[in-house]
Symmetry: C2
Amino acid sequence: MKTQPLLGHPACLLTRLDVHVQGQVTALLAPLGINPRQYGLLSLLGERDGLSQHQLCGPLNIHRNVMVDLVDELEQRGLVERRRHPADRRAHALHLLPAGRQLHAEAEVLVDRFEAKLLGGLDVDEAATFVALLQRVYADAGLDGDHDTGLAAGASGRR
Amino acid sequence: MKTQPLLGHPACLLTRLDVHVQGQVTALLAPLGINPRQYGLLSLLGERDGLSQHQLCGPLNIHRNVMVDLVDELEQRGLVERRRHPADRRAHALHLLPAGRQLHAEAEVLVDRFEAKLLGGLDVDEAATFVALLQRVYADAGLDGDHDTGLAAGASGRR
DNA sequence: TATTGTTATACTCTATAACTATA
DNA sequence: TATAGTTATAGAGTATAACAATA
């Protein structure tokens, strides 16, 4: 017996699951006043402080134009601060303020809890396998190279 | 050594992979003149002809308002046809026309080929495991119940 | 009273281009 | 000449509400 025609496609399965996850995480973070994208920015800065706006564009998958408003809002709320970039006077070095670090920590707890629930139907081994395979597919698709979170700014032009 | 902070989140991994897949499939189908959503509609009708517009809304994850334009275009291009619904005079029964069936077949080849490439980095067992786990997570999230592709129209109100 | 399809409207998001100051 | 950040604008997409026909 054939099941759902569309869900026979892994791509469709992936997309529908992502819509759900995206919606859930958005609703989860709403009480904290941030969306997934803003969480992502705080997370990246928490990992490596002082990155430029452009350096964050890749990992967050957004255009530099969009980044402006994103940083504007976080700065107005005292979560992040624009300072002079030590090496390039055109760029801004973004720094995580204490309030931002605090908020990110709270958000991370919520996200981790959600993800645990998302994979809660699998046992520990299965969950680990699933994530590992997801990472494999992700890397095989060449999506790893896009993350120049590193300092080597001079990457090959893409997009 | 810690890797990427954001990609440590399975949710983020999933979302980024989906953006890639969505973009690839869209580009893949573009030469055929359809988008993933239109492909989905043709696919569902190929499986079960004569569904109403409303019945297609759930599986395609779109509102009935959006469905109108979607069907309009496919009908104008002679891929699909609106007929009288035998059981409910308010509804339209959608039927796949030969040209639509043909186009869907061509599209399916392309999509299947892409998905094979997407999972091409995994061996056969791993790929099967990955898809199976994906389906498990999908079902555990309760996303299965949304697909009333069946004829029982009177579902519980959601959204 | 509820539902199917339809239409119109407003809102959000995104993509594009252009400008400045630096490199 | 190319790049980081900024701004403005147009377009696509989405959400909401309302309506007519039918259940």
